[in-house]
């Protein structure tokens, strides 16, 4: 090693006192990663990039937005028509929330398919579910801010969920509203919290990454890393792969932002909020449709009235994910080696799409019935099928190591200098 330059010495001096460069190097450069990650592993970093995009566009939008019932709708139109590039920033932000949910839902489905929630990654999984809840709250409050008809009635319906609780329900909603209905105090606090929550999300993302870096990434085979021949450094291999994925994502995302920016929105939200008129057909944003279907599907159950039962079922549909690491009795992580689980996994994916479609239809007749069946199936999958199939299924034989199927010869031919383990 040659004598370090003065600049290098200064960097070392700083890093010795605050080892931020060493930390970055460990986490993003030399970070050992399973060598067999496929493209489904792109969606975590993609979600992180979208979070940053949402925060940046959100902060600049807040410079032009007015959180008051008389001005909110107008200030959004002001952003769209008068503010330089305001239309771009708002369309990026509004479609960014949809993109965030697409990416995160794929990320969750990846975890469910490859058993990423299993021992020893349960806490990592929990933090992910907490992130989902935080995202849902943030997205909901953000949707209220433009103060259109859908904003107002979404806020009304969702805050009214809390009236389902016996005895204290009424006091809780009056507290949430700061009045006797959704009004100016509600809009003000939603703006405040919509600004706060993304930074809470950032904090939980760091914990999510911290937990990830303890046991490192799961992989498509779902078996543990056996030695250095199973791993490659994060940089350049996965930085390049993630950047390529980002490019593909941006092509699709920007095509929507530029050519169909209102495709995922609802035209009624371009009508200013009117507390005296409910739109004929209220639907939430697409990413809430499956939960909405569950909310409406549940009838009276014994002494629990339908309203409370629907709210409980809706929250339970996500809360059940907290215990899925224990409901799943199979020791094999990856569905690749689980012939029966692999099939019911795809049935569940179909079921969630059916729920989403049922949620978009009026809660009557055929679609109410289909929503009920799909809701029942969702819980049947989580609570009965998953534990049962884990017990009776006979998994296919697992490969001896990650490198074995790739490098015939058990990794001896691997191009890594550090060898001798396998």
């Amino acid at each position: 090693m040659s004598t370090p330059s003065v600049g290098m010495k200064m960097v070392q001096w700083f890093d010795h006192r605050l080892p931020i460069l060493t930390f970055t190097n460990h986490a993003l450069v030399e970070y050992p990663t399973p060598r067999n990650l496929n493209y489904w592993w792109n969606f975590g970093s993609l979600a992180g990039i979208i979070l940053v995009l949402q925060i940046i566009t959100g902060i600049v939008l807040a410079m032009h937005y007015t959180p008051h019932v008389d001005f909110a709708f107008k200030s959004v139109e002001h952003i769209m028509r008068d503010v330089n590039y305001g239309w771009l920033l708002r369309y990026l932000h509004a479609n960014g929330s949809s993109a965030f949910f697409v990416v995160v839902y794929i990320h969750i489905l990846r975890g469910l398919y490859y058993g990423s929630y299993k021992n020893p990654r349960e806490v990592l999984w929990w933090l992910g579910i907490i992130l989902l809840f935080l995202m849902m709250a943030t997205a909901f409050m953000g949707y209220v801010l433009p103060w259109g008809q859908m904003s107002f009635w979404a806020a009304t319906v969702i805050t009214n969920l809390f009236t389902a609780f016996p005895f204290v329900g009424e006091s809780i909603v009056n507290w949430l509203w700061g009045g006797f209905g959704v009004g100016n105090p509600t809009l003000n606090r939603f703006f405040s919290l919509h600004y706060l929550l993304p930074f809470v999300i950032v904090a939980v993302v760091f914990m999510h990454l911290w937990a990830l870096h303890v046991f490192k990434s799961n992989n498509p085979l779902g078996i543990d890393v056996k030695g250095p021949q199973d791993e490659i450094p994060f940089h350049p291999y996965y930085t390049v792969k993630d950047l390529f994925g980002l490019g593909v994502f941006m092509v699709i995302f920007l095509a929507i932002v530029f050519y169909a920016p209102n495709f995922l929105g609802h035209p009624d939200n371009y009508i200013p909020a009117d507390p005296m008129v409910t739109p004929a057909h209220i639907v939430p944003e697409w990413y809430f449709l499956p939960y909405y279907a569950i909310l409406r599907a549940v009838p009276d159950i014994w002494f629990i009235e339908a309203k409370l039962a629907g709210v409980i079922a809706m929250f339970a549909s996500i809360l059940v994910l907290f215990v899925i690491p224990w409901l799943d009795t199979s020791k094999v992580r990856s569905a690749t080696f689980r012939p029966i689980y692999k099939q019911i996994y795809w049935v569940l994916v179909l079921d969630v799409f059916v729920l989403g479609y049922a949620g978009s239809q009026p809660a009557e007749g055929m679609w109410l019935l289909i929503g009920r069946i799909a809701t029942a199936y969702y819980f049947f999958h989580m609570l009965i099928l998953v534990p049962f199939i884990g017990k009776i299924e006979r998994p296919k034989p697992l490969p001896a190591s990650i490198s074995e199927p790739v490098l015939k010869g058990g990794g001896a031919a691997a191009a890594q200098p550090a060898q001798g383990r396998s």
Binding site: W153, L161, W177, F180, G183, P185, V277, K307
Partner: protein, 180 residues
Amino acid sequence: MAESPASTAGGAVPEEETRRDFLYLATGAVGTVGVLAAAWPLVHQMNPSADVLALSTTEVDLSGIDEGQSITVVWRGKPVFVRHRTAAEITAAEGTAMADLKDPQPDSERAQRPQWLILVGVCTHFGCIPLGQQGEYDGWFCPCHGSHYDTSGRIRKGPAPKNLVVPRYEFRDDTTILIG
């Protein structure tokens, strides 16, 4: 107090309660009360403020509402339905068997004068505004999640748990009511 470090160093943990235990508990209790007291203003600030709470009333002139018509007035920022019921609607409302009702209440308890029905126009399910003269019972129908109310504003079908709320009101004279 002075002998505590010595006893710790010696490894002898006193079995009986000491003054120090009492101090720990007392400090913890005072600290907890202090934190709760400090947190309460932060929680309570979100409750309805004084101007919102200030009692508001709405006076409604009934003289222009013909039989079979209904109007919507605003009270405390919420819609209130004032419906001049027809004889057929009153008969249907009064003739309903209590056994058919999810939230049983006779029509006489819901209308001070049978021809005038006054209701808060907020669905008891998730707060949407039901549409008048619609639904399977010709009362109200909530488009959000399909709740049907009868001509007395009672829940008959659908997910809503309760009848539409009757606000406090009084007849000033034969053609004027005061809501609130």
